[in-house]
Each structure stands twice: as structure tokens, then as C-alpha cells.
Symmetry: C2
Subunit: 69 residues, 2 copies
């Protein structure tokens, strides 16, 4: 299975304090819209995050999300 974990990036690292917080494990579907991002896990769990996709690193199973300013 190739689900990924979604992390909130709290700081882009430019000021020297990067940080990531796990939002959801085993994410299957990701559906961005104008308000934010709907995450759906392989178990059917859903979370809506008011943010945007910062980047994906699929081989590492990681989805990075930043909150909207």
C-alpha cells in the first residue's frame, strides 16, 4: 500500500526552527479546494485542513501541508 502521512509544516526552515506535526497517517485521497484540503485515510477517516500543499515526497510517504496565512 502506498498511502502517505500528512504533516503540517509549522516553519519553512528559513528562520532556523523547522518543525513538522503529524496531521494524519495512512492518507489515501487528497482533495484541495479554495478553502483548504480534504484528507481521507485508507480507513475512511476524513480531515479538512485550512491549508495548501507545500510539497509531496512520495517515496518517503510524506505530504507536507502549510496553513493558509
Amino acid at each position: 500500500m502506498c498511502e502517505a502521512n500528512a504533516y503540517l509544516i509549522e516553519n519553512d526552515g528559513k528562520s532556523g526552527k523547522p518543525g513538522e506535526t503529524l496531521l494524519m497517517e495512512a492518507v489515501d485521497k487528497v482533495e484541495p479546494d479554495e478553502e483548504g484540503i480534504l484528507l481521507v485515510s485508507i480507513f475512511g477517516e476524513q480531515k479538512f485542513i485550512k491549508g495548501h500543499i507545500h510539497s509531496l515526497s512520495l517515496v518517503d510517504h510524506k505530504i507536507y501541508i502549510k496553513l493558509k496565512p
Copy 2:
């Protein structure tokens, strides 16, 4: 390996002619910015697409991209 294939969605299906075109296979990194999306494959190949992420279906290994209007 959990890379995915990136597809261009040419029509959202609402008008009855959905279609998807393969943009890149074996995508590892996806980095959206204001202008578009940088795709990087597991082989290091790079493509920049003037679009946004429509959705991800990771268990199916699919990244759906729509062109900017």
C-alpha cells in the same frame, strides 16, 4: 517504492467527456508554487507544469493535475 504517475485532467467530467493524459511516470517529489507545479521523478527527471493539483489518489498511485485557466 511508492512513486505515483501524474496525469493531466483535461475535463472534470461534468460535460461528459472526461479525459486524462499521462504527464510523468514514477513521480517522487511534487512542489507546487504560484506559477505551477514542479514534478521530479525517481530518475531525477524534472517537469514544470502550469497547473495546480486537482487531487491525489495515493493507493492508486495517481496525481491529478489541472491546467491553470
